[in-house]
């Protein structure tokens, strides 16, 4: 029984690998992932920082604001990526159809294009939510009183910097550059955001 299931999964993976080769989806999805994860992480970082400066002392408030913000970014990513990718791939298919002088509706190329659209949109949607969940994790711990709010803020800010750095490392790995430099570049964005928020909030701390 498990043999058959394993076979089915293996064949699916094989098909998806083939689709990925045709569509070069992973290259595009990687870009979307970093972009939107960074968007999500920086936004949530702003939410955490703002809450801290405003003296929010209830973890549920930070969680509610953070999660709803990240879900909104996720949905924006889902829609944006879906519509953009659909438009791009449709254009590509139409051009291919014109050159080949055949309809491609029932071909594996079309199936691959459709698959690429869904996966890219899904990745774009999930990236900010995952980033937000990581950064907001300390507040989930603060809710039942496992840690106090001050610790939660410090942990969440540290996690934000860790997420920025990791995204930079990821980009550094792709470009085969120095991963520390890659991480530092992303970290710089976080630091500038923190500085600007601090200045805007009147330099309260």
């Amino acid at each position: 029984m498990f043999g058959k299931a394993r076979e089915a999964v293996a064949s699916r993976i094989h098909t998806f690998r083939f689709y990925d080769k045709i569509t070069k989806m992973s290259r595009i999805a990687r870009r979307y992932f970093v972009l939107n994860a960074f968007d999500g992480a920086l936004t949530i970082f702003g939410v955490v920082l703002g809450s801290w400066f405003a003296g929010v002392s209830h973890p549920e408030v930070v969680i509610a604001v953070g999660m709803s913000t990240s879900i909104a970014i996720g949905i924006s990513g889902l829609w944006g990526a879906f519509l953009t990718e659909t438009a791009e791939r449709k254009k590509e298919m139409k051009e291919l159809e014109r050159l080949l002088m055949v309809r491609l509706d029932k071909t594996e190329i079309m199936a691959a294009a459709r698959w690429a659209i869904y996966v890219t949109a899904l990745i774009d949607a999930l990236a900010p939510v995952v980033a937000a969940l990581v950064i907001l994790a300390p507040f989930y711990a603060a809710e039942p009183g496992l840690i106090d709010m001050h610790e939660a803020y410090l942990a969440a800010l540290s996690l934000s910097f860790a997420v920025f750095f990791m995204l930079g490392v990821f980009l550094g790995k792709i470009s085969r550059e120095n991963i520390v430099v890659g991480g530092a570049k992303m970290l710089l964005a976080g630091i500038s955001a923190a500085l600007i928020v601090w200045m805007v909030s009147g330099g309260a701390f």
Binding site: M101, L104, I109
Partner: protein
């Protein structure tokens, strides 16, 4: 029954799936024992290739269907070898 043993096709295909992928897919079509794809002309999005297939019992319909599944179109059948033995065309 007539046996088609060798086919040479002039095929227009998208650049993706690549010739490697297409050769792999064609090699698992029933009756096909060997596949050779030679690129003849490369364009920006499509390429013209010569597909040579050998087997004991080649089914042109199955081969054409397999090509169509990957967006490739047979432009012409350039050479056919059928029967019990190969002809030396010298």
């Amino acid at each position: 029954m007539t046996m088609i043993r060798r086919l040479v096709l002039d095929v227009l295909k998208p650049l993706e799936p690549s010739s490697i992928e297409l050769a792999k897919k064609l090699s698992v079509v029933k009756g096909v024992e060997a596949v050779d794809i030679t690129v003849r002309e490369v364009d920006r999005k499509v390429e013209t290739v010569r597909v040579t297939l050998e087997g004991e019992w080649l089914d042109i319909d199955k081969i054409e269907a397999a090509l169509e599944r990957y967006g490739a179109v047979v432009h012409s059948i350039d050479r056919v070898t059928a029967g019990n033995r190969a002809i030396d065309t010298g």
